[in-house]
Symmetry: C2
Subunit: 461 residues, 2 copies
């Protein structure tokens, strides 16, 4: 290591030791024959003192230092003079008396200062995301994100869930939102699609007998972007076999209790409040009501309608997806009273925001066929759309269910952000652009030729 | 839960208890008035006994059972009669005497049996991957993969590495292998590229002061596929600031020792053997020699040449990538003796296979500019190709380095597989096709129109 300690580490225990620190110049105060600099790294700040004697070279170098220069400092840990201590930071009782100062890299003048609160457009912040991420308020969000991701995995690992990586180059499906497409060079005229979620793969893993699956998975939807939407987003995806709603609710409640306690030191009360969709709409006029009191207000909303009427096409559609199981006692209403058939789908709402959604799935082919008929799909059409899942279901599919947690939304609530862009390291703007890398960009004719594609003339807007 | 126990759980301690198991019929032996079935789930096998009395309904159901039907069985745990015990399995001393037998789902006739060794083409296995994955030899690979992934994370988390998720929709770069492209609908004529690795993002995270980063990341390369290649593959990506080669070697050695011990119960000897590229070529005529003895033979190969001569273009190229640092003592040879300039790049070789690769990066703009000149890139060209990284480097880049471990290769060595396809849940064939989902596939005209693309006439082959 180029350093012996980090900038957040030195305390009174180190007094008298010769140490080496590396970090960024966060501030420089020149008092003539005495220069102070604060150096910063991920772990904290340390105050450094430089005087002309007995180390004049270090002093000469210190005179030219600018904010965000990267330095390496060898020196002795001293106690700070009385009344100059800073009790707010862990290193606040000591300072480093410099013997040697090396500029590892210098910085150009900054487009904005590295301060907790800055008044700069989002475009500029994203263009210089490496500077934006140096701010402790931003760094903290990614430390929390890492910690929660890790604790989710720790809990699920302990509960014997297997993490399985599912493909990103997969098949375009006609349902749901618009797919991002990836042209195949080896198979001209054919396209992969980026997954909107690992839904079908996790169900196939249940058919494979994997029993309990999870994945922190990237998902893709080519939708017009709004404040809380990104073309790529992350979900904690969970599926289990031989379970009922009660098992999943209990698992998810215990998971959140564990993660909040371990990562945030917060005690959640479980079980979470539970209301039906019907009750939520009647009482709160919302399917994701904010139930007040307490910092984190978790709420299960269940019994969502299985179908919703599509005015345009004059028929019933699946409200969730067509593999969602209906409630046992409502199956008799199929084809008779579609509006009142309740599903085994549920949402988890946190502070009025939907953060997870899932269902118990249909595993019986007969029932699945009835559902398809109810939404006007013939057996042939169903085959065409969902061939691989239906084929898998013919060879012994277990009862199963699961859910997916939208991690970007969850983390933006926890860190108090207005937009999920603040908890994504390198997000896109509302125009789908990354100012940092300038993606998307034009590509060469050779690349298009290899893909057997051509770009049409620019459409009129 | 639909069950009280798993199929791998019952022992003599459960004798006399009434339990419920769920699982797949793995075998059925009909002895007339006595039917045995073995039921299987992820956790093991349990022998089940069904007789006509006193539960005739269960017996009638059992008569129709076929392999891979999904069943739910309520019964009493009995000790197996003397001499019928199976000491090879944990449940081998007991059997379940059936009171109630429910078929949760039946299976069609199977395209192949669920056995450890099967003689079926890979195409058929991949078409019915959900059946292939039910084989215990396959399941075991994914249990090992999950365990090692988890242990890698545990080690790196403990060492204060932050897991940061980097984008999948990013910018096409002209270097390296061919990119997979993703047309942008919102920005007609523009394309994202899927990342060949998070290389540039992890370096930017170092400039952001994140200090220690890791990610288990999917990477994409549109290359012609060979046995050990997949269009998407997984790497354990690591980067750290203020480090030298020695720090990274020590970290990676301790990481592998921890993971092998914890996940596999194997003691690795560290430090690993280390040789220079020059010595490897002179002694073994290979830059990834297999150094014999011991089940797992790890070897560092270092001091790779910084440049390689491009005969076609009559100039020197970067052998690794142009951000790789040269060895300090060889910098003087720049422009004079290009062939003999050694880099600070290293590979980790396991049993003769390269499983990791990395380097200490250049952090000085002056040196970076000299390297660009050496490979014939003007400042303008360098800007055009690597604008965002070079811009980031102007604002205080710390010295940093890292490496990436090819997890698919590593896991195929550990599980003794010939191809990385066996350790990927849903792989592609050598034609880039997924037989299970039939990806890639044709897409509708409306989708192409929205992307402002047209497919050219089929090219002649």
């Amino acid at each position: 290591m180029l350093r012996t300690h980090t900038c957040g580490e030195l305390t009174e225990d180190n007094i008298g030791q010769t140490v080496i620190l590396c970090g960024w110049v966060a501030a420089r105060r020149d008092h003539g024959k005495l220069i102070f600099i604060d150096i910063r790294d991920r772990y904290g700040f340390t105050q450094v003192v430089i005087t002309p004697k007995p180390y004049p070279a270090a002093y000469e170098t210190a005179k030219q230092l600018k904010c965000e220069d990267v330095v390496r400092i060898t020196g002795e840990v001293n106690v700070r003079p009385a009344k100059t201590e800073n009790p707010k930071i862990p290193t606040g009782l000591v300072e480093l008396f410099t013997h040697n100062l090396e500029i590892l890299n210098s910085s150009k003048d900054l487009p904005f200062q590295i301060e907790d609160t800055i008044e700069v457009s989002e475009e500029i912040k994203l263009l210089h995301r490496y500077l934006d991420l140096r701010r402790s308020t931003m760094l903290e969000k990614f430390i929390i994100r890492d910690k929660l991701n890790y604790k989710f995995r720790e809990f699920l690992n302990r509960e014997r869930f297997l993490e399985v990586e599912t493909p990103f180059l997969t098949k375009s499906t006609p349902e749901g939102a618009r797919d991002f497409l990836v042209p195949s060079r080896i198979n001209p005229g054919m396209f992969y699609a980026l997954p909107q979620s690992p839904q079908l793969f996790k169900q196939i893993l249940m058919v494979s007998g994997f029993d309990r699956y999870y994945q922190i998975a990237r998902c893709f939807r080519d939708e017009d972007l709004r404040r809380d939407r990104q073309p790529e987003f992350t979900q904690l995806d969970i599926e289990a076999s031989f379970v009922s709603e009660e098992d999943l609710f209990k698992l998810v409640e215990e998971m959140f209790r564990f993660v909040f306690k371990e990562a945030l030191g917060i005690d959640l009360t479980i079980p979470f409040t539970r209301i039906s969709y019907q009750e939520a709409m009647a009482t709160h006029q919302s399917d994701k009501p904010d139930i007040g009191q307490g910092q984190y207000r978790f709420l299960w909303v269940c019994d969502f309608p299985l179908f919703e009427y599509n005015e345009e096409e004059g028929r019933w559609n699946s409200a969730h997806h067509p593999f969602t199981a209906p409630k046992e006692e409502d199956i008799a209403l199929l084809g008779k009273d579609m509006k009142n058939i309740r599903s085994r789908a549920y949402d988890l709402v946190l502070n009025g925001v939907e953060i997870a959604s899932g269902s118990i799935r249909i595993h019986s082919r007969d029932l699945q066929q009835k559902i398809f008929s109810s939404i006007g799909l013939t057996a042939e059409e169903a085959q065409q759309k969902f061939a691989h899942l239906l084929r898998a279901f013919e060879y012994g599919a277990p009862p199963h269910g699961g859910l997916a947690v939208g991690l970007d939304r969850l983390y933006s609530i926890i860190t108090g952000c207005e937009s999920i862009r603040e908890v994504i390291a390198f997000p896109k703007t509302q125009k789908g652009i990354c100012p940092l890398t300038e993606a998307p960009s034009g590509v060469g004719q050779r690349q298009l030729d290899e893909l057997n594609l051509s770009i049409k003339e620019k459409p009129e807007k």
